[in-house]
């Protein structure tokens, strides 16, 4: 394949080119290809191998068009037909060109190519899962000849079992190589290839291994035919039987939009947003809004057998199912009793980081008005209260948006691909395709970015990251005194530091500073965030900041004030909206941090707990300690989906609505809002959390909770949180079958369907922004690192979306979605250990040891190891201290015994 790593549509020039498309004069930019301009102009050119997110391969030849070329010496003469038709996906436009996409020549080409592609195609549509949404079927109808001249036996391949999630049926492949290019370019791993030649040409994975990366499921959608189909969805239903709901992922904090496909309200599959073609919504094989495998295959946890779908009340030691109203009365009664007996400060409210903004808002309001304290929080997974506060400081200064593009990006720490997969993908693809500098600083670098040519890595020990950022900001401000120290921290030459400073100073236009809020033992984040903000201030106003946290709605919950010390808006506005009179105090201080909640319960300071979602409690690393503490509570009201260790300890249990059963709004890392949409209301006796909270508050005597619908809650919330927001609740819905009137109403004016227009499916939501002054605070010092024993490595860790997760554990194919434990090793360390990439090794932390796969890459800094916490059941409960670990290559005999 030619060196086509950049697809032309992304590199258009600025010069206007005028040419004719089916005799209509259109304007494009120099460097654009015929197919991209045609798509923009609403002229559909059939294509298989061309994909807007991938490089141009030009191998399916279905996009052949007839062109007439003007005579360069005599521009006034009529254009002459080119000797041969050209492919629209690779041919750049030029002045005066006349393109015919529906002429006789073009039609003959299309028919010929279709016949050629169908020569060996099995045409087993009745048993093919792509049937009904297949491009081969569609083009056969629209562009094919309608009959076959093929009388011989068709070619057949044996079928391999390569991937547990993706079914590969080579007989149906049309060799467009979209899947190969997707894995190479977007997925970042060269795992698939085209093998053999001529008639024996087939698609496959190297070594028949799985297509293992976290974005691999997208090749199912972009494969235009039924060669790659979803194994979990295999034969479950025909696509035309499925109802679609446009919603958003509850896993991916990048805010990925999705379509849930349901049959009889049961989730069958999840894909990127569907597109409209021929007045129907169908899977979008040209999608650019890719989703990760957890969102795609894990969203069905609401169907788990452990689901409790009716409220329960503890009577004499057992949880007895009861009516919702009864449970509300019980919960209100016992919370009121606890409040009277032990004071308002003895009650705390916890919110799941996957709660919607409305739910978080109501929890904040409930704590502030009904309970009368500041004890509301969602940040239980942080190692210390100080690092949770550092994360909030980061959100306070967040102002970046990826949609604006960037001319350079600085990444501070982070395992982005495994925490916020599609956000990482967008950053990486933008940097790679536009050749922008990617500067990675800190103790862990994401190897996913290694395909970016403009990559520069500066590794350091965790304890030195904040010092490095501080020195860098000094150097940018012109104080080069620290360059020597910086060079030492990064283990590079001083000239290298100078060139980095020059590079950063020379960045023109918008640029991004992205920081991971992964806090490990909590010792470093409290100084890393101020250090990064100092760097941002030094770099200037064109630099925007995006803090990255894995929790889906972290930014939204911060915005609505579901945490101590923060109100959803100005105190005045809140006082008015919540009908609090002038004299009464709104509690905004001294709130209980979720992180210290367990200790507070153990000490008897907290007696009553209201938790919206048990997953927030599950994120506490020491579950045994947590469960013991829950036993001590006088009142433990929890609203959750499942029968679990945590919910079995409840005094009142509310059956919550799952991700497919509730409605609301979530914010992503960039502050864009996306609508979580219910399919058809909750199942059984389940109720969405806003109803539960409204019920309890009203029962406890509040009059400020008079909501009829979740939209009422949204309206009150958005006026406080984003007063400038001009949209509406329904306006945040994605265009889809449920709210597209050109489909619903046959008499209504029908839009002409643009064949490809991703803009249709993107909602530019409100940006949650706070006018942030440049940060001028102090950077707390970090305790010096204790020297590690010989042969020991400093352990760094972070969360992983495929790790131990309350909701993921209940997904139907959780066992296939969980990642196998691995450890990242720096190449220099691997060399001393005689460890190769992909080999097994034994990781020992304290007294525990597990077998892991070694991944040798420039991820962790030299002398440190990176381990995604929660994989393989290794508990890192010794939080608050630094950990060291030993790593040994696994011996063959050990391997055999495992």
């Amino acid at each position: 394949m030619a060196d086509q790593t950049v697809h032309p549509s992304l590199k258009p020039g600025t010069e206007d080119i005028r040419f004719f498309l089916n005799d209509r004069e259109v304007v494009g930019k120099k460097g654009e290809t015929i197919i991209t301009v045609a798509a923009r102009e609403g002229v559909y050119i059939p294509h298989y191998c061309w994909h807007p997110s991938l490089s141009v391969a030009g191998n399916c030849r279905l996009c052949l068009v007839e062109v007439h070329l003007p005579d360069p010496r005599n521009p006034d003469a009529p254009a002459k037909p080119a000797p041969k038709p050209v492919i629209g996906c690779q041919t750049p436009i030029s002045n005066g060109l006349r393109v015919y996409t529906e002429s006789k020549v073009a039609q003959e080409c299309q028919q010929g190519m279709m016949e050629f592609l169908l020569v060996n195609h099995p045409l087993d549509c009745p048993i093919c899962d792509r049937g009904g949404e297949c491009q081969l079927q569609r083009y056969s109808m629209e562009y094919g000849a309608g009959h076959t001249r093929m009388a011989d036996e068709k070619r057949k391949f044996h079928k391999p079992q390569a991937d547990p999630l993706i079914d590969i049926e080579r007989n149906r492949c049309i060799m467009c190589t979209r899947c190969v290019r997707f894995n190479d370019e977007v997925g970042g791993e060269h795992v698939m290839g085209v093998f053999d030649r001529g008639e024996g040409n087939y698609i496959g994975t190297f070594g028949q291994g799985p297509v293992s990366n976290i974005l691999s499921g997208n090749i199912i959608d972009i494969c235009p035919v039924g060669c790659l189909t979803s194994r979990p969805f295999r034969f479950k239903a025909r696509v035309w039987e499925l109802a679609q709901t446009q919603s958003t992922s509850i896993w991916d904090a990048s805010g990925a939009k999705v379509t849930h496909w349901t049959r009889n309200r049961k989730l069958m599959r999840t894909t990127p947003p569907s597109r409209k073609a021929h007045d129907r919504y169908t899977v979008n094989e040209d999608t650019e809004e890719f989703i990760d495998n957890i969102t795609r295959f894990g969203s069905d946890f609401g169907l788990h057998a452990d689901r409790w779908d009716e409220s329960r009340i503890r009577i004499g030691g057992t949880l007895i199912p009861g009516a919702f109203v009864e449970a509300v009365r019980q919960a209100a009664g016992s919370l009121a009793k606890t409040k009277v007996n032990h004071g308002a400060d003895s009650i705390a409210v916890l919110v799941s980081p996957r709660a919607t903004m409305e739910e978080g808002f109501l929890a904040a309001k409930f704590a502030r008005t009904v309970i009368g304290n500041d004890n509301v929080d969602w940040r239980m997974s942080f190692a210390t209260a100080a690092s949770a506060d550092a994360a909030s400081l980061a959100f306070q200064h967040a102002d970046g948006d990826l949609n604006d593009g960037f001319s350079a990006v600085v990444l501070v720490n982070g395992d982005y691909l495994h925490q916020v997969p599609t956000f990482a993908m967008r950053v990486k693809e933008y940097a790679r395709l536009n050749n922008k500098p990617v500067i990675m600083i800190g103790h862990h670098h994401d190897a996913y970015f290694s395909k970016c040519a403009g990559r520069r890595q500066y590794g350091c020990r965790p304890a030195e990251t904040s010092r490095a950022l501080e020195l860098l900001s000094l150097a940018i401000k012109g104080d080069a005194a620290g360059n020597g120290e910086l060079a030492k921290i990064f283990s590079v030459a001083e000239s290298e530091v100078a060139s980095l400073v020059d590079l950063l100073k020379g960045v023109a236009g918008k640029a991004l500073l992205i920081q991971s809020l992964e806090d490990m033992n909590g010792a470093y984040l409290p100084s890393e965030v101020p250090a990064a903000l100092t760097l941002k201030a030094a770099l200037g106003a064109t630099w925007k900041y995006i803090p990255v946290l894995r929790d889906r709605n972290a930014f939204g919950l911060y915005a609505v004030g579901a945490q101590p010390g923060r109100l959803p808006g100005s105190e005045e506005a809140v006082r008015k909206a919540w009908k609090i009179n002038e004299k009464a105090q709104i509690p905004t201080a001294g709130g209980q941090h979720a992180r210290d909640l367990v200790a507070a319960i153990e000490e008897g300071r907290i007696k009553g707990l209201l938790a919206l979602g048990a997953d927030v409690l599950y994120s506490y690393p020491d579950q045994d300690r947590l469960l013991a503490a829950l036993e001590k509570l006088e009142t433990f009201v929890v609203s959750d989906l499942f029968n679990s260790e945590i919910t079995r300890r409840a005094t009142v249990f509310f059956a919550a609505a799952s991700n497919l059963e509730r409605d609301g709004v979530m914010a992503d890392l960039e502050g864009n809002l996306a609508r979580l949409k219910d399919v058809d209301g909750p199942t059984g006796g389940a109720r969405p959390d806003w109803e539960t909270l409204t019920g309890i508050a009203t029962m406890m005597g509040s009059t400020a909770f008079a909501y009829e619908s979740v939209e009422d809650v949204f309206n009150e919330m958005i006026r406080l949180v984003a007063p400038g927001f001009r949209g509406s609740f329904t306006g945040l819905e994605l265009a889809g079958p449920a709210n597209d009137h050109s489909v619903q109403d046959p008499g209504g004016a029908r839009r002409r369907t643009p064949a490809y227009n991703p803009g249709d499916y993107r909602v530019d939501g409100a940006h949650l922004r706070w006018s942030s002054e440049p940060f001028a605070g102090a950077i707390p010092a970090v305790a010096a690192e204790a020297p590690a024993a010989a042969g020991q490595f400093l352990l760094t860790w972070g969360e992983h979306v495929q790790g131990d997760d309350y909701h993921l554990n209940h997904a139907s194919i959780a066992h296939l979605l969980k990642a196998k434990p691995y450890v990242e090793v720096h190449p220099a360390d691997a060399a001393t250990l005689a460890l190769e990439d992909g080999k097994r090794a034994v990781l020992t932390v304290g007294t525990e040891s597990i077998e892991v796969t070694a991944r040798v890459r420039k991820g962790p800094a030299q002398g440190t190891l990176y381990f995604p916490a929660g994989l393989g059941g290794l508990k890192l409960t010794g939080l608050g201290e630094s950990l060291t670990a030993g790593l040994q290559p696994a011996l063959e005999t050990e391997l055999a015994s495992v």
Binding site: D124, E153, N171, Y202
Partner: protein
């Protein structure tokens, strides 16, 4: 007027005498005697089999898609080498026709790519319970000995992953059996 009356009576009398006990009579002694139906009669549905007992239906749901009264419900599943039900990769695990909704239009029969569902000659559709009108596979499947054709007649390919086929695919992904005149 009298003349017309007598003429009519004459026809009636003629038929009465002619068909009283003769072999060509119009009525039959149902239910002891059942009338033969014309070949394209659209009666109760039957699901056919191949000679070797495999079901013809591959659970493609085209019949359900075409059915104007939404009388057909089916859920498909995947055949395994241990549990092979149909000739393709897929078979109908649940196949139901709601006979009270069905209007016997025959579209399902026409849509079926496998000649699996046909409308049989049976017109006996009286049942005592509403639930009995939901015919499932057990009610509709032909007895195995009734099967016709063998399943090689249906052969885009049969591509299952078995330990053996996986081994073959790893060694040589290309199935050249047809080249040797399979």
């Amino acid at each position: 007027m009298i003349f017309e009356l007598l003429k009519g009576l004459n026809i009636a009398a003629h038929h009465m005498v002619r068909y009283m006990a003769g072999p060509g009579n119009v009525t039959v002694e149902y239910p002891e005697v059942k009338r033969e139906q014309p070949p394209f009669f659209r009666g109760r549905h039957r699901l056919q089999r191949y000679k070797d007992g495999l079901e013809r239906c591959v659970g493609c749901a085209l019949c359900a898609a075409v059915c104007p009264s939404e009388a057909i419900y089916l859920e498909a599943a995947e055949n395994t080498p241990e549990h092979r039900v149909s000739a393709g990769e897929r078979y109908a695990e649940v196949y139901q026709i709601h006979l009270l909704r069905c209007i016997f239009c025959g579209f399902c029969e026409e849509a079926c790519p496998e000649n699996a569902i046909i409308m049989g000659p049976s017109f006996e559709l009286a049942m005592s319970k509403r639930t009995d009108f939901i015919a499932d596979k057990g009610d509709m499947l032909d007895a195995p000995e009734k099967g016709f054709g063998d399943y090689h007649e249906y052969d885009p390919y049969i591509s299952h992953v078995t330990a053996e086929s996986d081994k073959k695919a790893k060694a040589d992904p290309w199935d050249k059996s047809h080249a040797a005149g399979h």
